[in-house]
Symmetry: C2
Subunit: 138 residues, 2 copies
């Protein structure tokens, strides 16, 4: 998806397109499968634009998540990671040693009997497998 896809989506809701917001989107679109913390997003941007503040990164990650453009990942560490909703719904294998992750396409919700969940309005779900990746194995 080109950056304009997301920009138009924001404009349609009356959200202003600032240079800072464009930079954040650029970061997430610059590579495949990026999982970045607020700090990491910030440092990638300040390399070029030192005036970008970390607060603004936090505020906009939250906004982009509310708008459905980013997904917040909690890999059990203290800090949240974010990924852009660019590809199919997926989950992750997370290496507990290096922190790296790879995608898996299995989704538990496809296999469980949702009728068993009554009186509960499902909003979202999380599924991660933690362990040691090939690189860290030896």
């Amino acid at each position: 998806m080109p950056i304009n896809y997301f920009i138009e989506q924001l404009q349609a809701k009356g959200i202003k397109i600032t240079p800072q917001r464009q930079e954040i989107l650029h970061v997430f679109l610059s590579e495949e499968n990026l999982h970045l913390s607020a700090e990491e997003v910030h440092s990638r941007i300040t390399a070029k634009y030192p005036s970008m503040s970390l607060d603004t990164v936090y505020r906009n990650l939250a906004m982009l998540q509310e708008q459905g453009i980013l997904t917040e990942l909690n890999f059990g560490e203290r800090k949240s990671l974010f990924e852009i909703n660019n590809s199919e719904h997926h989950h992750h294998l997370v290496c507990t040693k290096c922190g790296g992750s790879q995608e898996i396409d299995f989704c538990p919700l496809d296999f469980m009997d949702r009728k068993k969940i009554i009186n509960f309005k499902i909003e979202k779900h999380s599924f991660e497998i933690f362990g040691i990746c090939a690189n860290c194995m030896e």
Copy 2:
């Protein structure tokens, strides 16, 4: 499981049984399905034993988790919750409004083809469904 089951398990590893450690175990064994933060454990204990420090709670929750007696739950909030490994392996429905949770017995690992996961040593996994519970629904 009686408290002695856990105490013996700790003693067998040469871990000292202090009054503080016993109090923490008591808290988790006092009710079914408890999911408590460090702060909550601490305040339940200080009600009776005001000298218990929060640091000690943190240190011992970590120790009990390493010993396999507690499981740390990350429901996406800032703080971790802990539950005692008393019952069958299970996952949770978590209410995003009140923070409450109920157990579900479906486990994704029973349904996915583990052969698809190669070059990765599985250590643990997480699966939670988030949404609105019956109480918070109206």
